[in-house]
Point group: C2
């Protein structure tokens, strides 16, 4: 057999160690699929002195920069995460002629366009299936299978931690704080859960999905984000009363006039919606296309082995391209659709508003909605106690901006004690 | 822009007319994605004299052979269906230098290996995403995304007609004959429903899926097939009593000793299994891989526009390869796993047996199972009337061969009036 395809790995944690395991255990299969051996020639880690199970000690190095700059690497697998030094390493790898496979959603969502540009200039591949929805093959179908169709909307559960928390709140009736503490104990949530709980992880994935689905450039900071800290047991119960369930959705949608809207937020969807039965830490993404109709992709969104499976799929593709001396399909941003500003996304909303229980309150509240151009679909009034009532309001579709203005006005109104919660409502 | 990519279409029925529509309506998008215009240069139909909406009359021809032999075609789309003349046309197209995109499951399942060989010899692409599960991107993920992983099992609902029938039997409590007649009236089932109802359509798809998933060659005639004609309302009710639901599953599974088993048959699965909630004419396929874990792909398995979406995805890929002057990933059959004989597939089974209601009958029946090496998990005895009882038996996992022998012995036994039904049980 000819020269092997030479691979360098940056980062050897949870995912990296599984990548090494698959490269070793499936070596024969991988060779057959690429028509060359895949040879791991170096593994960059923070502390090269401490041994790693399954990694020959002489492959370890703490000089990642030197590893990617050797000039004889065919494929660099970047599993460092975060923006820096990952970005510098990826760019150095490309400049030295290596194709790059990365699971780095933060980097791709922040700087994807420039990295694609750098890959094009260097004549190398840049693949990142593992950056979104772990093991689920989603980016390749979006990029290649649906390329003859027109995507209208992508709607997904792309963060396992928040789905685990919301699912537990729904099934066990526990509070956000209780479940989060438990999830941290069990390792489903990080010690610092900010990126997950506040929706930033989902927003990065939404930006990547939107870029591919709409052949446009979308960055994480263009995504309107609301996390799940504000979701209460009342919200869960209120959703249940509507035969719905609360999920943290990432949505990218084609608007009229050649624009797209991309947002992440807690959303009530019907319990019998395909996404309604996605439990625990699983991920699922629904794609709606003009001709294909509704498609769903479902699977494990995180974890060492599932993520490593997605990485290896990209590695095999990049390696085959090397062997054939071709470059795969790169970025497609020809449509160049503008991203609507955060206030423009139109959905229905569900609000819980705590008010004084006296005559005229409902009229006053309804008036505030009307003044802000938001039309109410249903109101349910529940008496909570002496002079205390709760209004559960579902609106007709309205722009987020109008809803925000309504909430601001409500907070000023003398009869309103508090706006307890605001969630979106989809497909219900 | 350079020379357009020249496309010929064979067949212009339900799918073909949608392909023409998408090629026309999405022309700008497609050009941007391929970096060339896609030009439809001929459409072969049975009667070129009768006009087709959306197809310029001068493109129509009734001489398909001449069209594919012109020598200036880049991509031939074969939507004729069936083995002949489709096979001859596809081979002629390849011999004259055209890549082929086909939705022809019968042809691929019968003769895939030789067609792949012919494509390799001619240096052209052969793509067939639309042949399995309509719009659902399944073959590409199997071929490319999971290529770094090892697939253990693929289990799917790949025939919409039978799923519609079984779903209606379950939800509306109607009989097979009632629902089938209705489905034919509504156009969900063909006037001659044999290919669907007897499982042959699903078997062809199972063969294609197994070939890709296990990098081996599997033909439709190697698939053990049972259709759904024998499924009764009692079966549906009995499944329901076990919190299960009857689905026509196509299963391809890696056995020990480097062999695979591939079968199609009515099967009881748990109602809360991901495949349990696939309703109506939808398709869904669960893939279980070593590293990726459980993945599911869900969507419309048939219909003009969904199938055309899959065809166009392949056309864009084939066209891009033309422009880049490369050939895509071809057949991968290096693993060359043997297909186990039909009797070897091991599953649990569910039987309904009509017996005389007198002492000793259960012992006699249990003895027959034991003699044939089939272990019983549960038996439920229901008294039907004077001296008439029904045994509902679920076995432990057993090879189909042993179960068949058991059923043959049961039919000989004096106390057994009839073996009313036999179904598999999975994941329950």
């Amino acid at each position: 057999m000819a020269e092997p395809v030479r691979i360098a790995l940056l980062g050897c944690g949870n995912v990296g160690s599984q990548v090494v395991r698959l490269l070793t255990e499936h070596a024969d299969d991988l060779s057959a699929r690429v028509a060359r051996d895949l040879e791991l020639v170096g593994v960059a880690v923070r502390d090269a002195a401490s041994p790693r199970a399954g990694v020959p000690h002489h492959l370890l190095t703490d000089d990642a920069e030197a590893l990617v700059s050797r000039g004889d690497i065919d494929v660099v697998i970047e599993l460092v995460g975060g923006i820096e030094p990952a970005r510098t390493l990826v760019r150095a790898a490309m400049a030295h002629g290596a194709s790059v496979v990365t699971a780095n959603k933060a980097l791709m969502a922040a700087d994807g366009a420039r990295l694609h540009e750098a890959a094009r200039e260097s004549g190398v591949d840049l693949y990142f299936e593992a950056a979104v929805a772990g093991a689920i093959p989603l980016l390749r179908p979006l990029r290649e299978s649906l390329v003859g169709d027109r995507v209208r909307r992508v709607m997904g559960i792309v963060n396992g931690t928040t789905n685990y928390v919301l699912d537990r709140m729904d099934t066990a009736g526990e509070s956000f704080d209780e479940v989060l503490a438990d999830a941290q104990r069990l390792g489903y949530a990080e010690a610092d859960p900010t990126a997950d709980v506040d929706g930033h992880d989902a927003a990065a994935k939404a930006a990547i999905i939107a870029s591919l689905a709409f052949h446009s450039r979308v960055t994480a900071d263009q995504v309107e984000v609301t996390g799940i800290r504000g979701v209460t047991s009342s919200d869960i119960a209120s959703a249940r009363a509507m035969h719905g369930v609360v999920k943290l959705l990432a949505v990218a949608e084609r608007l009229d006039e050649g624009r797209i809207s991309v947002w992440v937020g807690p959303t009530i969807i019907p319990r019998d919606h395909p996404l309604g039965s996605v439990h625990g830490a699983f991920n699922a993404v629904v794609v709606e296309a003009d001709a294909a109709g509704q498609l769903m992709f479902y699977g494990q969104g995180a974890g060492g082995a599932p993520t490593a499976s997605a990485v290896l799929g990209d590695v095999v593709t990049a390696a085959r391209n090397r062997v054939q001396k071709v470059v795969g399909v790169g970025e497609s941003s020809y449509a160049a659709l503008a991203v609507a500003s955060p206030g423009e996304a139109v959905t229905r909303f569900h609000l819980i508003v705590d008010v004084d229980d006296r005559p005229g309150v409902l009229a006053a509240v309804a008036g505030i909605f009307a003044e802000n151009g938001v039309s109410i679909e249903t109101v349910r009034q529940e008496i909570r106690g002496e002079q205390d009532a709760e209004l559960v309001i579902v609106t007709h579709p309205a722009p987020k901006r109008s809803l925000d203005a309504t909430v601001a006005s409500l907070r000023e109104a003398p009869t309103v004690r508090s706006v307890v919660s605001v969630m979106r409502v989809e497909a219900l």
